[in-house]
């Protein structure tokens, strides 16, 4: 019984980790797009800051955020190649501000909960 639990734990952790990161990724993408970037460089910037995201997730996410009016995009030539540049729209800036406040609220709530002595161990 304990053997199977040990085997399942990495999967459980991985699933929970991905679930936790999913919401944070949107925040990270919006934050990174305060300066204009195209998909490939955006991915690299996020990876450099420890928020790795695969292209299969990033590009559909960018499209969704653009369709929601949070991003603006533009095709432009750079280094002799056409690239699509994204940047935060005014609505996106507003939403990012609200989301960051929400994020900080969650963070401080979690801190408060963690400061309380654990009920199970006392």
């Amino acid at each position: 019984m304990s053997h199977s639990t040990q085997n399942e734990t990495p999967d459980v952790f991985e699933n929970l980790r991905l679930e936790l990161r999913r919401g944070c990724l949107i925040l990270a993408v919006l934050a990174a797009l305060r300066t204009e970037q195209y998909g490939y460089t955006l991915r690299k910037v996020l990876a450099e800051h420890g928020m790795e995201i695969d292209e299969g997730t990033l590009y559909p996410l960018l499209r969704r955020l653009e369709s929601q009016g949070l991003l603006k995009s533009q095709w432009r030539e750079e280094d002799k190649r056409n690239k699509r540049f994204y940047r935060l729209s005014p609505e996106g800036k507003q939403i990012l501000k609200q989301l960051l406040a929400e994020w900080q609220g969650i963070d401080s709530s979690l801190d408060e909960i963690l400061k309380e002595p654990s009920h199970g161990t006392s």
Partner: protein, 335 residues
């Protein structure tokens, strides 16, 4: 870059027409940037194997394209458990009787017992079995797909009233109405049985008579005793409205005895003679033989139906009561 073009073309096929070119252009740019970076890193031009390994990492074209599509499903997560439940019930109602009839034929019909006749019957029934199964599953799926469409637009499942939830049913409680119906039905049966079924001449109208063998009297008493037993049990249940091991055991015994008597009756060749002025004695004998034969032939089906009914109604109740009793004893032991 031919390999990359092939990859992008395969992705494009699955994308929505209006966005195909835009998405493929952006993906193409992203992959080319990655390939260039990799070329710089290894210091040589990439061959097809290098490109293939990078494309493989990105995923199958259908999977990549799928990420750009809206989430689509025929039956969504809300209705899916209900759909699965209905499918299981349909399968049970269709498959179990089908198997039971074949099993009954093998057990009770000697002419069916050879492997050859079983295989011949299965081969005969096979196409119609699958046709009916296909249509049953298809019909259920279609109904649920339509419900899903309606639900996604009208959100009818969101409109519900907690006050209309059904009350929690105590499976060991005997509804008063059931006992009253059982009492009345058995009483009517017993009166009719005593007044109309005592004689061995079971039918006598317009000159036509159906005469039964003396064995009929045995069945007469057996069915009368069962009816009286059912009346007694229903009367007790009307006053004590909970199943206990005792009354559930008696219920099981009465039901089993009724089933055995009924199945036995079918095999007993009870019709002694059929008399009619319009029939020659030989023809009348043929008719009485035919009635006995058809009754005997229905024996396997009757056995299977009776086993199914008695097992489904009686056994779960007894098991439930027994486990409940064990739990009660265990809880008392803990006190």
């Amino acid at each position: 870059m031919e390999l990359l073009d092939r990859y992008l073309h395969a992705i494009k096929f699955w994308l929505p027409r209006a966005q195909q070119d835009d998405i493929v252009a952006e993906l193409s740019e992203d992959i080319r940037s990655q390939l260039e970076e990799y070329e710089t890193k290894v210091g040589r031009k990439l061959n097809d194997f290098d490109i293939a390994s990078i494309l493989k990492e990105r995923g199958r074209p259908l999977v990549v394209a799928n990420r750009y599509l809206p989430q689509q499903y025929l039956i969504g997560p809300v209705l899916f458990p209900v759909y699965r439940f209905v499918l299981a019930i349909v399968a049970l109602c269709y498959l179990v009787p089908w198997l039971l009839v074949r099993f009954g034929l093998i057990v009770f019909d000697p002419s069916y017992r050879s492997v050859r006749s079983v295989l011949a019957d299965v081969a005969r029934a096979w196409p119609s079995f699958w046709t009916v199964a296909f249509f049953a599953i298809g019909a259920v799926t279609t109904v649920f797909a339509v419900l899903e469409k309606v639900q996604s637009k009208k959100k009818f499942l969101d409109d519900w009233d907690p006050l209309k939830l059904p009350p929690v049913r105590d499976p060991n409680r005997i509804p008063r109405l059931n006992s009253i119906i059982e009492l009345a039905a058995n009483f009517v049966f017993a009166v009719w049985w005593v007044t109309g079924a005592w004689s061995q001449i079971i039918f006598d109208r317009a000159g036509v008579r159906v005469v039964l063998t003396p064995a009929w009297r045995g069945f007469f008493w057996a069915f009368l005793a069962l009816a009286l037993g059912n009346i007694a049990l229903a009367s007790v249940n009307l006053r004590r409205r909970h199943w206990t091991l005792l009354n559930a055991g008696i219920r099981m015994v009465l039901d089993s005895a009724g089933a055995i008597a009924f199945c036995w009756l079918l095999k007993a060749h009870l019709v002694s003679e059929v008399i009619s002025p319009q029939l020659s004695p030989a023809h009348a004998a043929e008719i009485s033989n035919a009635i006995n034969t058809y009754m005997a032939k229905s024996f396997p089906f009757a056995v299977m139906a009776c086993v199914l009914i008695v097992a489904l109604s009686g056994i779960p109740r007894l098991v439930r009561l027994r486990t409940g009793r064990t739990r009660l004893i265990q809880s008392l032991a803990l006190l």
